[in-house]
């Protein structure tokens, strides 16, 4: 962490934007690529201040590797979550037991917190209500454990082991 | 009666009703907004030709397989004009509220004397 050089951040932003542009246009026509590069440079100059804190450091191979591994894991969790939802919605008795619980996280990075919050929201029975420092307040549709440690064990731990490597 | 025509006339009339019968200024502006949507829908449905595609002549669409581009261009203009009117109206309403502390039209009339 800490201060990364401005050039590194700028290059990282431009790179990401350029990739997004390629996806948007979906073609490799030299005209599109040229214009895309130009606009990526301009937009990058306008937004690199807010976009990233670490710059090219994000492209560390280990992080990329973990990120690639994280995607299928996450998708799997999501599908499980939806089956869980299907069960609760379609069950005639509506087996819910909701409440708001508190969790702790070891993540300190803001992007990491965002990723964790999004992951929590999309996975079984939980939705992030608020984040304050390292305290996550989570609306849980089926409260299994009211204590902070127990809830953390259930909700945040599974993701943290990936996110810690990716974002810390 | 075609459903789109029906919807656009209905939207125009609902908006008009809100403007004429409601007393709250913001509600009147919501009505105005709805009315504009109705008018835009009417224009677009006037320009539609059954079974034809959007007037963007790529991907093998020839001129005789495209709908009329003019109403679309007109509506593009009309929508932007509508939002400009709305923004103006709302800033006027904000000023009005600062002066009279109410949004009810009749109250305002009464307060003015």
């Amino acid at each position: 962490m800490g201060e990364t050089s401005k050039i590194s951040r700028y290059l990282y932003t431009v790179l990401i934007l350029f990739i997004i542009w390629l996806f948007l246009t979906g073609s490799l026509d030299p005209q599109e690529v040229t214009i895309g590069a130009i606009f990526a440079l301009i937009v990058g100059a306008l937004t690199d201040e807010v976009f990233t804190e670490r710059g090219l450091g994000n492209l560390n191979p280990k992080r990329v590797l973990y990120f690639t591994a994280y995607i299928p894991y996450f998708l799997w969790a999501m599908i499980m979550a939806n089956l869980d939802v299907a069960y609760r919605v379609l069950h005639p008795k509506r087996p819910i037991n909701p409440g708001i619980v508190e969790c702790r996280t070891v993540l300190t990075n803001n992007v990491g917190k965002l990723a964790l919050a999004n992951s929590i929201t999309l996975t079984p029975g939980t939705i992030t209500l608020d984040v304050k420092g390292d305290r996550y307040f989570i609306h849980w549709i089926d409260v299994k454990d009211k204590s902070v440690e127990g809830a953390s064990e259930n909700i945040t731990k599974p993701f943290e082991k990936f996110l810690k490597v990716i974002f810390e | 009666m075609n459903p789109y025509y029906f919807a656009s006339i209905a939207l125009i009339l609902i908006g008009l009703y809100a403007i004429l019968a409601k007393r709250n200024v913001l509600k009147m502006l919501v009505g105005l907004s709805i009315m504009e949507t109705g008018v835009n829908l009417l224009l677009i449905s006037v320009g539609y030709v059954s079974g034809r595609s959007a007037p963007i002549l790529s991907e093998g669409i020839t001129p005789d397989r495209a709908v009329d581009p003019i109403p679309q261009a007109l509506v593009l203009t009309a929508i932007v004009i509508g939002v400009a009117t709305t923004a103006m109206a709302l800033s006027v309403v904000i000023n009005l509220y600062e002066k009279y502390k109410t949004l009810n039209v009749e109250e305002i009339r009464r307060l003015r004397g």
Partner: protein, 494 residues
């Protein structure tokens, strides 16, 4: 060369867009810049006027180089050339007045809105495309909303809100009318519509035309939709009031006339004319009756203005060429007189702090030039011979008699009588009541007022050359066949 007339549109736009940049350089340069832009605009307008009246041919501006039914054209014929000049001159005078009359911040925004109001009216008068008319109408209307509420008082906001709501209804109806006409003809160019008007389904055309008139009636202050006008006139900054009365209303009236006459080939067209006559008559009656009761002079003038506008609408709806010409003459005269009167009243309000009638007591001794200007304007509006409005009222009466609307003579005379009542009351208050110390009048404004007074009297004494011009302008609206011939239509036909 004639394409350079498009500077009439480009210049105010350029000026308005340039002001934010100018403001960064020097804030005090904004108002002089406004004068400069309106001055150049007046020059261009004078050149256009000269060009049109010497060659006798209208200038057709083709935007983007596409010929009319394909591209939008601006049609600066005899009428448009005349009124563009009126607009530019009035704006120039009102810019000078703005130095004194506008003190509320932010002035740079005021300058932009002022220029765009002028642009909108110019565009409305010169456009040859029915949707483009809508766009320019909205430019006028939205800048008018902002200018009315510009003083940020409660009453001003309320007046603006009224106008916005009515204007919103009006513009929606106008668009529905455009949709109907487009739906049955497939074109938006006015000349092209006129050319194809005999093909259109009469039900659709009548409904469309009625909706178009309804939409324009908001701006043109016709009866059911003119509730905003008195409030707005009273609360707007003084130069803006004068601009409203002088040309914004006139532009909408012209648009109304144009829209009506291009569809004159439609079956059952005269029923629409009758509708407009009824509306106009009601406008006159309501306007005059309300003016009688007012204690605020600016509001009184506003109602008087509404009444005159009603007369103009009646003249337009007579359906004869002389009626239209008389209307145009009345428009022109009324523009001059009302510009003068609102200028004078606004000046009084700036110096003495209000426009209630008791502020006018002893005005003849306190501000003699201004009082003289108001008096001349009032006498002129009543229709006393040797002043300009006499001739236009005369022509209106003649036209009405020609068109076999005898009762309209009674309407016009009755209106004049009512006007005489309240204007003479005002004149009496000014000259024979009250005392007060003398106020130093600004020499520039006095000069402007005297200029307008001189114009009124010149027209009153030598109406002939002006009447010739007006007849050309009137036939420009009335004679649709000529209009179609003048526009170089491309051969797109069903």
């Amino acid at each position: 060369m004639s394409q350079y007339a498009s500077l009439l549109i480009a210049l105010p736009l350029f000026g308005a867009f340039f002001i934010p940049i100018l403001k960064r350089i020097s804030k005090s340069a904004v108002m002089p810049f406004l004068v400069l832009v309106t001055l150049i605009q007046t020059g261009i307008a004078a050149w256009v006027f000269n060009e049109v009246y010497i060659t006798g041919k209208p200038i057709i501006i083709m935007a983007g180089g596409f010929r009319p039914p394909i591209g939008i054209n601006l049609y600066i014929g005899h009428f448009a050339a005349l009124f563009v000049l009126v607009i530019a001159v009035t704006s120039l005078l009102m810019t000078i007045f703005s130095f004194k009359a506008v003190s509320v911040e932010p002035k740079d925004k005021y300058a932009m809105l002022f220029l765009l109001l002028m642009l909108g009216a110019t565009g409305m008068i010169s456009t040859g495309d029915i949707f483009n008319l809508f766009v320019f109408m909205e430019i006028t209307a939205i800048s008018a909303y902002a200018l009315i509420a510009y003083n940020k008082t409660g009453e001003a906001s309320e007046a603006a809100l009224k106008y916005i709501v009515l204007g919103g209804i009006g513009s929606s109806f106008f668009l529905v009318g455009v949709a109907l006409i487009y739906g049955s003809l497939g074109t938006l160019n006015m000349a092209h519509i006129a050319q194809l008007a005999h093909l259109v389904n009469p039900t659709v055309a009548k409904a469309g035309l009625a909706l178009l008139i309804f939409g324009l009636a908001v701006e043109a202050e016709q009866f059911p939709l003119n509730a905003w006008a008195p409030d707005a006139y009273q609360e707007a900054p003084h130069p803006v009031t004068a601009m409203f009365s002088a040309f914004v209303v006139k532009a909408s009236l012209y648009a109304m006339g144009r829209v009506i006459y291009i569809l004159s080939a439609v079956e059952g067209w005269s029923s629409i004319l009758r509708l407009l006559i009824i509306l106009g008559t009601l406008t006159v009656i309501i306007g005059e009756m309300s003016a009688l009761r007012q204690n605020n002079v600016k509001r009184m003038f506003a109602y008087s203005s509404i009444a005159q506008v009603g007369l103009i609408a009646v003249g337009l709806a007579l359906g004869t060429e002389s009626g239209v010409s008389a209307s145009v003459f009345h428009m022109f005269n009324h523009a001059i007189v009302k510009a003068l009167m609102f200028l004078a009243v606004g000046y009084v309000a700036v110096e003495l702090g209000g426009t209630e009638i008791n502020k006018f007591e002893g005005l003849g001794k306190r501000m003699p030039v201004t009082a003289f200007a108001i008096t001349v304007g009032a006498i002129s509006i009543i229709g006393i011979p040797l002043f300009n409005i006499f001739w236009s009222k005369m022509q209106l009466i003649l036209a009405a008699l020609n068109a076999q609307y005898t009762w309209m003579v009674a309407l016009i005379l009755g209106a004049s009588l009512v006007e005489a009542t309240y204007y003479i009351r005002l004149i009496h208050t000014i000259w024979f009541k009250g005392e007060g110390e003398k106020v130093k009048e600004s020499s520039v404004l006095a000069l402007v007022m005297l200029l307008l007074v001189a114009l009124i009297i010149v027209i009153g004494i030598y109406p002939e050359p002006f009447w010739n011009v007006m007849q050309k302008a009137g036939s420009d609206i009335f004679n649709v066949a000529q209009y179609i011939k003048n526009v170089p239509l491309m051969g797109v036909s069903p």
